[in-house]
């Protein structure tokens, strides 16, 4: 029992070690304090920032990432099921999907700027574009790799094609769909943060990091980076928890 409790604490060791090294390095002034502020001043900046402008930026980034992921999911999941349910259709579009999946979404910024102008629409649509391809690809593969025996079993029990699609293929693809959603939301966050830095943005975590760097306010910059990290980790964790709850058979 005590051994298990000990094992649960293992992940904290890395965290503690990181903070210890950070603390010692700044206390002993191994690093220029301007480049690396102390943990205390960073967390003070994080705390006060989250109750002020950084909190506002955080919410903005959450909103944009969520909007992009939601749009991507709404488009990519039905499309992925459609493509995956016919291997011929998927094979004929595979190259196009793979090509755009491999194209850095950031390369699409200028095009989307022309299409949507300098605003939230551009950021959200570029992020959604990137996430759509990742989700689409995973959903389609999840559907295509549905166990043949399971499909046959449903057919033997008298399930119509539509029934097989909804009762079997859709559920069979769920674990892979969640892989796609987790990768998709991570990619959307990356694109949103980059867009907030450089595309005439007035707010968002990317803007916050960039602005703090321009003003040489290092504690604030680290605080903003840290907030972005928390957001990325939190989004991934949220999808994992939802998956564990609703796709309980995943990996079993």
């Amino acid at each position: 029992m005590s051994a298990r409790r000990y094992e649960a604490l293992l992940p904290m060791i890395g965290v503690a070690a990181l903070f210890a090294i950070w603390f010692v390095a700044t206390a002993r002034q191994w690093v220029d304090p301007v480049l690396l502020p102390s943990p205390a001043s960073t967390f003070k900046a994080l705390w006060s920032g989250m109750h002020g402008p950084l909190g506002f930026d955080f919410v903005k980034t959450v909103y944009r990432t969520a909007a992009a992921t939601l749009i991507a999911a709404v488009i990519a999941i039905p499309l992925g099921i459609l493509l995956g349910s016919s291997e011929k259709v998927y094979r004929s579009l595979e190259f196009v999907i793979d090509f755009f999946r491999s194209t850095p979404a950031s390369a699409m910024f200028p095009l989307f700027l022309v299409l949507f102008g300098v605003g939230d629409e551009t950021k959200i649509s570029v992020a959604a574009f990137g996430a759509i391809l990742v989700i689409l690809f995973n959903v389609a593969y999840g559907v295509m790799n549905a166990r043949k025996t399971r499909l046959l079993a449903a057919k033997v029990m008298g399930a119509s094609r539509l029934r097989v699609l909804f009762d079997v293929m859709l559920l069979e693809s769920m674990p892979q769909t969640f892989v796609g959603l987790r990768n998709g939301v991570s990619l959307a966050l990356v694109i949103i943060v980059v867009a907030e830095m450089f595309i005439g943005s007035q707010d968002g975590l990317g803007h916050s990091v960039f602005e703090a760097q321009q003003l040489f306010d290092m504690p604030r910059m680290y605080a903003a980076i840290f907030a972005a990290g928390v957001l990325g980790y939190g989004l991934n964790l949220m999808f994992l928890l939802v998956e564990r709850r609703f796709v309980h058979w995943s990996g079993k």
Binding site: R150, A153, R163, L171, H248, W249
Partner: protein, 277 residues
């Protein structure tokens, strides 16, 4: 699995049977005539005829690759045949209710449904209302006397329990015939022994015609009313051997002289067919 066939059942189409190996006297349940099937260059079945008697458990046994599974898959309509006809009291497979138990229970059950809902699923496909589905599933479980926690998900159960759930799922529609494709070959020996008893009980209890493919001669003979011994392909009926031992059979049956003799006979036929190549 349509119910349309029910009305037809009163007046089964008369089957003029050319000579086929089969049942002395009783009207056959399944009649297979002129069944032909080839894979690429291999002729698996060539004008194959067989009668399957009603209410009996038939084991299909034969050399590797002779087409045991192919046979039941064609009878069950899972695989198209090149030529021939399979009739169930004069009806086609699409007009009768049947059950099919796959070897790979892990992939045949739905892991997102609890065991109970897995069993009830075919009733949903037959558009039985939810309350009746529940009642019929509960009735089946009670009748078979199987003690299982059906609130579990398949992945929370042992292999044998999962296969029991598969068998119950196949039986819930009260099928006229049940096909089992090597249902126990993915289980360990202890579980296999237990499952043979379970299947025998289910068979005695339900009286459903069953066709079981087995790669284990002892199992094939132990469970069967008749053992269908196939030759190498193109498969012929090498023998259709009746197993006389009374039911319920038990471990004692395995050493009963009659049983031992039947098994030895089947082994002889099998070896003769293996050598003939």
């Amino acid at each position: 699995m349509s119910m349309a066939g029910q009305a037809l059942r009163q007046t089964p189409a008369a089957v003029e049977s050319p000579s086929a190996v089969g049942t002395g006297g009783r009207r056959p349940h399944v009649t297979i005539r002129g069944l032909s099937k080839r894979f690429d260059n291999a002729v698996i079945y060539d004008k194959f005829n067989l009668d399957i008697p009603r209410g009996e458990l038939i084991s299909v046994f034969g050399p590797n690759g002779c087409g045991k599974s192919t046979l039941i898959n064609m009878i069950a309509g899972l695989m198209p045949m090149d030529a021939g006809e399979v009739l169930f009291d004069g009806m086609h497979i699409g007009d009768i209710k049947f059950g099919y138990v796959f070897q790979n229970y892990r992939e045949a059950l739905f892991p997102w449904l609890r065991a109970f809902d897995n069993i009830a699923y075919p009733l949903k496909m037959m558009k039985v209302p939810p309350a009746e589905r529940r009642a019929r599933t509960e009735a089946l479980v009670a009748r078979l006397g199987i003690k299982l926690d059906l609130n579990l998900y398949p992945y929370q159960m042992s292999g044998g329990q999962q296969q029991l759930v598969s068998i119950m799922r196949a039986l819930v529609v009260e099928p006229e015939i049940l096909f089992l494709d090597e249902p126990f070959s993915a289980l360990d020996y202890e579980m296999t022994l237990f499952m043979r008893e379970q299947l025998q009980r289910v068979f005695i209890e339900s009286g459903t015609t069953m066709v079981l493919v087995s790669h284990d001669l002892e199992e094939a003979v132990y469970l069967a009313d008749r053992v269908l011994l196939l030759s190498r392909h193109p498969a012929r009926v090498a023998d259709f051997k009746a197993v006389a031992a009374a039911r319920p059979r038990s471990v004692a049956t395995l050493s009963d002289p009659d049983f031992v003799q039947t098994k030895a006979h089947c082994l002889d036929v099998f070896q003769r067919e293996v050598r003939r190549s």
